[in-house]
């Protein structure tokens, strides 16, 4: 426990210059971090890389059929927090998560819980499109195949078509499903990755800067898609673009050096930020 306190001290010590710039630093989150109809409930989540603490006591809900965006300067821990929501951090040696993260009331860091099926329920789309070096069809069919979601080829075909339809990619690729997914354009690859993710029908989709490698047109298409996906999924998206956060999300959370500073309705955050750090960041004075 002592080392933990020390690490926090160290982390807050490192923060002092930012505090000077941003005024008073508080670990308490400004705004209401709960959702009306929560799907994921996180309380007092700490994430450690070895002895370094990356996330300090973050509490945040992700509601059903909503898009929560996470913004903040580089290194503020938003991606780390996102990756702890489906235990992708397990693959990083020395990473440790404490606190409570529940999916539909079930503790996901419970010792008895297998992270593998969890990740089928909480899917993830990455910053850089990462289609497998397989055909477009096989990319989408990968998840359903390993989870045995379909009983025969016809069902699988249907699922693949359905997923590609939902990802808005079907019309562009329906004639070349057997061609490698790596041959698509960047925006198409990212939509393929989204199709791949929704093919296993997750409840939550985590998106880690999904448009940062895309051009503005592809970005607009993906943003439109995110808005449509909200009908069926809960979405948490990390983004560096505040315009994007404003366009796609219902709620926005501002992270700063591992703390969740402020969270609230997106239009509220962008028009009337309560915390000085949030205001500085969204007005471009810091970050």
């Amino acid at each position: 426990m002592n080392t933990m306190v020390e690490a926090i001290d160290k982390a807050t010590g490192a923060m002092s210059s930012a505090e000077l710039a941003g005024g008073q630093h508080s670990r308490a989150t400004v705004g209401d971090f709960t959702a009306v109809d929560p799907r994921m409930v996180c309380r007092n989540v700490d994430v450690w890389y070895g002895s370094k603490q990356a996330i300090h006591g973050v509490s945040l809900d992700i509601g059903k059929n909503e898009v929560v965006s996470m913004i903040g300067p580089s290194g503020c821990g938003k991606s780390t927090f996102l990756r702890s929501l489906n235990r992708m951090n397990d693959t990083i040696v020395g990473c440790r998560v404490t606190g409570s993260i529940q999916l539909d009331g079930q503790e996901i860091y419970d010792k008895g819980l297998d992270p593998v099926p969890l990740r089928a329920r909480v899917g993830m789309v990455f910053q850089k499109p990462n289609p497998f070096p397989k055909s477009i069809y096989e990319n989408v069919a990968y998840g359903p195949r390993i989870h045995g979601l379909t009983n025969n080829k016809a069902e699988l075909d249907e699922l693949v078509e359905d997923s590609l339809q939902k990802a808005g990619l079907w019309n562009e690729v329906k004639d070349r499903l057997d061609q490698p997914g790596t041959g698509l354009s960047g925006g198409q690859q990212q939509r393929l990755c989204i199709a791949r993710t929704i093919a296993v029908s997750p409840e939550v989709i985590l998106m880690d800067e999904p448009c940062s490698a895309l051009d503005p047109i592809a970005t607009a298409i993906v943003e439109e898609l995110i808005d449509e996906l909200r009908q069926n999924f809960s979405i948490a998206i990390v983004t560096h673009s505040m315009q994007q956060a404003a366009r796609v999300s219902q709620r926005t959370a501002y992270f700063h050096l591992g703390d969740l500073i402020e969270v609230g309705e997106t239009n509220h955050i962008f028009t009337n930020p309560q915390h000085k750090l949030t205001e500085d960041y969204i007005t471009g004075r810091f970050g």
């Binding site: 990462n130 497998f132 990968y142 791949r196 993710t197």
Partner: protein, 463 residues
């Protein structure tokens, strides 16, 4: 006079030229304060002068040393009386010349020294002395001349850096073409000797014949040595031993690569990977006697236990040991390509709820497959060309068999046996070695080309 003293002298001249070049460059712009007016850094002017002093002189020296003996010898030969050379075979003349040279340098001579030979020897010694001294003079003159040329050229406008760099570029091109030309030379010499062989033995017999018995009659009345050059048993033997080796090396190498790159904790990997790679560093002769003295008897005993008849030198023993030897080729290359599969592929798979083994089976190995195949092909060409193990453990008998428990022979083994011992170098027997070597070379070359193109194709995928 010793050549190395001349070389040291040349180096000294180059050092002086270097210093003078720097001085000249600096003074040409009016001292250190004006040094920015120079096109290049002063040291480039020094190098420029040193290279001009050294390279032409060294080239001249190399040519001189290469041709001096030939010229002196031909002068001496021209002075010998015609009746001494009349009717002599060329070998005989060489012997006389050799005696002359030995006499001149004070070595033991083979025949009694006639006055004429003594005179020729004196002349030879004198000519050699003159030639050596004139080489010194010429080389030093060229060195100083080069230095003077550089001195005259040096000035603020001269692009010393560009010139020095292009000289170094030329030197690198020359050196790299030495490697290429050597390869080309080996290929051509093997090719021409093989053509001579195919003049004596038809390619049809060589490539399709099943009887290999390369002993040919040294005397006309010799019995039982007719010479048969059907290389099929050799090819099948090579194929079988290589196949057994790959059956050992591919699963072991691949599995250990997957374990090391995907599952092993960092400290295990840090120890295990170098240890596996040590296998590649064991001399093949050690593998050879390990195969012949340990593995082969063990297999024979095991066979006896099971009621099988195993030859004391068997394809199985050689293949097993060769397989062990090439494990690191498979495992190390596979490990590299598996590690080269981007982490984002793994993340993408895990994020879909795949387990680690599903990820490895369905994403990582397929993604790395071209590279793995490339590694395996390189290992195959290594196995086909391997000699020592099969010489010691596979046997000499050219059996055409599919039974790995029998003794077989391989292309490389036969090349060794054809060429060891006293041989005539223009008989079909020895020339057969060139034909075998050419075949082997072509097979491994094409395997390497295929392997490299597969590896290259794979590399392009993620860049």
């Amino acid at each position: 006079m010793y050549a190395w003293i001349l070389i040291l002298t040349l180096l000294a001249v180059m050092a002086v030229a270097y210093q003078l070049g720097i001085k000249r460059a600096i003074s040409s712009v009016g001292g250190l304060t004006q040094i920015n007016a120079l096109h290049s850094l002063p040291s480039y002017y020094g190098l420029y002068a040193a290279l001009w002093a050294g390279i032409p002189a060294l080239l001249l020296m190399g040519l001189w040393i290469g041709f001096q003996d030939q010229i002196v010898t031909s002068l001496v030969t021209a002075n010998l009386s015609p009746d001494m050379l009349e009717g002599q075979s060329s070998g005989r003349i060489d012997l006389i010349l050799n005696d002359i040279k030995n006499l001149a340098t004070g070595n033991i001579v083979s025949a009694t020294v006639t006055p004429e030979v003594q005179a020729a020897a004196d002349q030879y010694a004198r000519l050699e002395r003159i030639a050596t001294w004139s080489m010194w003079l010429a080389v030093l003159a060229v060195a100083l001349g080069g230095m003077a040329y550089a001195w005259r050229r040096t000035g603020p406008q001269m692009r010393a850096r560009n010139r020095v760099e292009s000289i170094f570029l030329a030197i690198m091109i020359v050196f790299s073409s030495i490697a290429i030309l050597t390869t080309l030379g080996i290929v051509l010499s093997v090719l021409f000797e093989s053509l001579r062989f195919f003049d004596m033995v038809s390619p049809v017999e060589f490539f399709l014949g099943t009887n290999w018995s390369p002993q040919i009659a040294l005397r006309a009345d010799q019995v039982g040595a007719t010479g048969a050059f059907g290389a099929i048993p050799l090819f099948t033997g090579t194929l079988m031993v290589s196949l057994i080796a790959m059956l050992v090396a591919v699963p072991i190498g691949l599995m250990s690569a997957i374990y090391l790159s995907e599952y092993a904790p960092r400290n295990v990997r840090a120890v295990a990977k170098p240890v596996i790679e040590i296998l590649a560093g064991i001399p093949t002769v050690v593998y050879g006697f390990f195969a012949a003295l340990t593995v082969a008897p063990a297999i024979r005993d095991l066979g006896a236990l099971l009621g099988l008849e195993v030859a004391s030198e068997s394809a199985l023993a050689a293949g097993l040991v060769m397989g062990i030897m090439i494990i690191p080729f498979v495992s190390s290359l596979s490990d590299d390509v598996i590690n080269a599969v981007p982490q984002s592929m793994r993340d993408g798979s895990y994020a879909l709820g795949a387990t680690q083994s599903e990820t490895i089976r369905r994403v990582i190995v397929p993604a790395a497959l071209p590279g793995i195949v490339g590694g395996i092909l390189l290992a195959v060409s290594r196995a086909i060309g391997e000699t020592m193990i099969v010489v010691m453990a596979a046997g000499m008998a050219a059996n055409l068999t599919a039974n790995p428990l029998e003794s077989v022979t391989t292309v490389t083994v036969q090349i060794v046996t054809l060429l060891t011992g006293d041989q005539e170098f223009d008989s079909a027997k020895t020339l057969a070695a060139f034909a075998l070597g050419l075949t082997l070379f072509l097979v491994t070359l094409s395997l390497n080309i295929v392997a490299l193109s597969i590896v290259r194709k794979y590399r392009e995928q993620y860049e």
